[in-house]
């Protein structure tokens, strides 16, 4: 159903925008979007999220989000990626909390199912930070790193973690195109 070239980030953008509740401003790897999605590690070097933008309507109006998408057919190494993702979220929140209202993980396959209820907890965020302590905290020693993790930040990040799962079928369940154009009220903000 999707045109060629549509990768995970692109499919996620189309789905999110078809819900009428999100506007994905920036998508990797469009050159001029990358700086908006890129943050520096403490130890040097950068990482970037796959996409970012703003949420629309209701209590989400105007909130920003940063998202990572993994278009995998099976769990594969998503657990490892997710652990790194939460470490990135911790680092991004430390640097620019005003841009971090929501951290969204978008996937097409479940992962870490045995730890499902832990994935959006401060403890899991702490685990991710410690796993990547060198880059996030600038500290290679695990014991010293444990002392550097900030509990308020792990909690703030955990509170902002969102999970979104998609499938081709799910992506179909959005308003039909003519209805969508009616729903999207272009006059807003005109």
């Amino acid at each position: 159903m999707h045109a060629k070239g549509a990768d995970g980030a692109r499919r996620a953008k189309i789905y999110l925008e078809a819900t009428t509740r999100a506007n994905v401003y920036w998508v990797n790897p469009a050159d001029r979007a990358v700086p908006k999605l890129t943050f520096p590690w403490l130890s040097g070097g950068n990482f970037s999220f796959d996409m970012g933008g703003v949420l629309l309507g209701g209590d989400l109006e105007g909130q920003e989000f940063l998202a990572e998408s993994k278009n995998y057919a099976s769990a594969q190494d998503q657990g490892t990626h997710y652990l790194k993702f939460v470490a990135q979220c911790y680092r991004a929140f430390t640097l620019r909390p005003e841009r971090c209202d929501n951290f969204v993980w978008i996937a097409w396959s479940p992962f870490l199912v045995t730890r499902w209820d832990e994935l959006q907890t401060p403890a899991f965020v702490r685990e991710g930070v410690l796993e990547h302590r060198g880059r996030v905290l600038g500290e290679a020693d695990p014991d010293r790193a444990r002392e550097l993790v900030d509990d308020d930040t792990t909690k703030a990040v955990a509170d902002r973690l969102r999970m979104m799962f998609l499938s081709s079928w799910h992506e179909k369940l959005t308003p039909l195109r003519p209805d969508l154009f009616n729903l999207l009220n272009f006059e807003r903000g005109l």
């Binding site: 045109a3 070239g5 506007n23 401003y25 001029r32 195109r177 272009f186 903000g189």
Partner: protein, 477 residues
């Protein structure tokens, strides 16, 4: 070459940290460029940015039959496959997709696919250099028309290379039409039909056709879709009159043979134009009307003060003098929208002075609620009849002439209505403008000597002799 300033400004705006401010700045820059391309366009910002379905900008053109709109989608991705994907999502609205990064489109096959898809869906896919290339010619009126047509009805893939090709071919086509040369005219006509939706391509082609015909080309030899009408379409005539001066009386003579006062009255040139002056100079002996209404108008402060009369089209074709305006129409009914300077009438003695050289064959007095009409069956002079002086004496000092019938030396019959300041041909008599204007103004106004001289100048025969200038309009460089 597009100098890349548009692109650089976009880049600076994208570098702004805060998302809303960055998006807003990008939109403002894009809107300014579209304004350069078409100064008439109204641009609204939506609250969306780089959205799959919602446009970033809504371009709106006011029109007589309501405004019409075109959506602009700003796109980060310059990959052809992504653009094709984006196009499919919104093509039903025939929008503009503007890639924010320069489009190189190195893969000719994919570019061909995108070009075909965008043309078929009447969607314009372009980039900053493409828009900038089209906009940079906008100080020229012809290219302002082309720019407006592109903004409203451009289609296909237009990057800098194609925009450059289009402007060069159109420039050559314009010169070609002026020189009655088939090949460059044909290329330009073909190109606009390729890159513009048919209604917008039609405007440019009709203008080329009008220039072709005005330049002495035969209508049936015009290369491109021909309008079979022998008249010049309104839009083409409007543009011709607004364009830079075409100082060629033969050109305007040929154009003048294909226009009417009724058609001129549908156009809008409230401040006149040099080309309208040229058209009227060579056409006032051919264009006819049946009615003329003169209205006192004091120039307002913002008006450019001109000491000579000049032609304007302000609801009607009109000759504008420093103190008054003479409006012309095919019938007196059509002058209803020109407010009258209502008067009670004119003293008989004053009428005889104003009507010097004309035959007064019909008189209608009004006095104290009574009307008296005295008229010749054969349109002979009645003003010198002894009875007239008897009536004058009998009716008293307050009697005024409210209407008079006039016979011109050509035996054509006019009536002058002094209450509404209107002169018309009797019984549907048509008069060419150089025949209608002098008696109208002489009867309806107490002209100064200077105004009388100017009137003589306005009705004299055009001089076609050796003052021909080589046309310079189309030398765009």
């Amino acid at each position: 070459m597009a100098d890349g300033k548009f692109s650089a400004r976009i880049e600076n705006a994208l570098a702004i940290e805060e998302p809303w401010n960055s998006a807003r700045a990008v939109k403002e820059i894009v809107a300014a460029e579209f304004h350069t391309l078409d100064p008439r366009v109204e641009i609204k910002f939506t609250e969306y940015f780089n959205h799959t379905f919602a446009p970033d900008l809504v371009l709106r053109w006011p029109g007589a039959s309501g405004s019409h709109e075109r959506y602009v989608y700003l796109k980060y991705n310059s990959e052809i496959e992504f653009l094709l994907d984006d196009l499919r999502m919104v093509e039903n609205n025939r929008p503009i997709l503007l890639g924010l990064e320069a489009q190189n489109w190195r893969d000719p096959e994919s570019a061909k696919e995108l070009a075909l898809a965008s043309k078929e869906s009447d969607t314009l896919v372009t980039d900053p250099a493409g828009v900038e290339t089209l906009a940079e010619q906008s100080n020229n009126k012809f290219f302002r028309l082309v720019g407006s047509a592109f903004a409203q009805g451009g289609r296909g893939l237009v990057n800098e290379r194609i925009a450059r090709l289009a402007t060069m071919s159109l420039q050559a086509g314009l010169q070609g039409a002026r020189a009655v040369e088939q090949q460059p005219t044909a290329v330009a006509a073909m190109l606009v039909q390729e890159l513009l939706r048919s209604e917008y391509a039609g405007r440019i082609v009709r203008l080329l056709q009008a220039i072709w015909v005005g330049s002495g080309g035969r209508l049936e030899e015009f290369p491109g879709d021909r309008s079979l009408d022998e008249y010049i379409p309104d839009d083409a005539l409007q543009f011709l009159l607004e364009m830079e001066v075409i100082d060629d009386k033969f050109f305007w003579d040929r154009v003048g043979q294909r226009v009417t006062v009724a058609q001129l009255n549908r156009l809008k040139l409230p401040d006149g134009s040099p080309n309208l002056e040229l058209l009227m100079l060579v056409s006032r002996h051919r264009l006819w009307a049946r009615a003329c209404r003169v209205r006192s108008e004091q120039p307002v402060l913002s008006d450019e003060v001109r000491d000579k009369p000049y032609w304007v089209i302000d609801r009607h074709l009109a000759l504008k003098w420093p103190r008054f305006v003479a409006y012309l129409a095919a019938t007196v009914d059509q002058l209803e929208d020109v407010p009258e300077n209502r008067h009670d009438g004119l003293r008989f003695l004053e009428l005889t002075q104003r009507a010097s050289g004309m035959i007064i064959s019909d008189l209608e007095w009004s006095s104290d609620g009574r009307i008296l009409r005295y008229s010749s069956e054969d349109h002979e002079d009645v003003a010198h009849d002894p009875a007239v002086w008897e009536f004058e004496r009998g009716l008293g000092a307050y009697a005024l002439i409210r209407r008079a019938g006039i016979t011109l030396p050509s035996r054509k019959q006019l009536y002058a209505d002094f209450m509404t300041n209107t002169v018309g041909g009797k019984g549907g008599t048509k008069l060419v403008l150089s025949e209608l204007l002098p008696p109208s103004l002489q009867l309806l106004r107490d002209l100064t000597n200077e105004e009388n001289e100017q009137l003589v100048e306005q009705s004299s025969a055009p001089d076609y002799e050796a003052d021909e200038q080589p046309p310079t309009l189309f030398d765009l460089d």
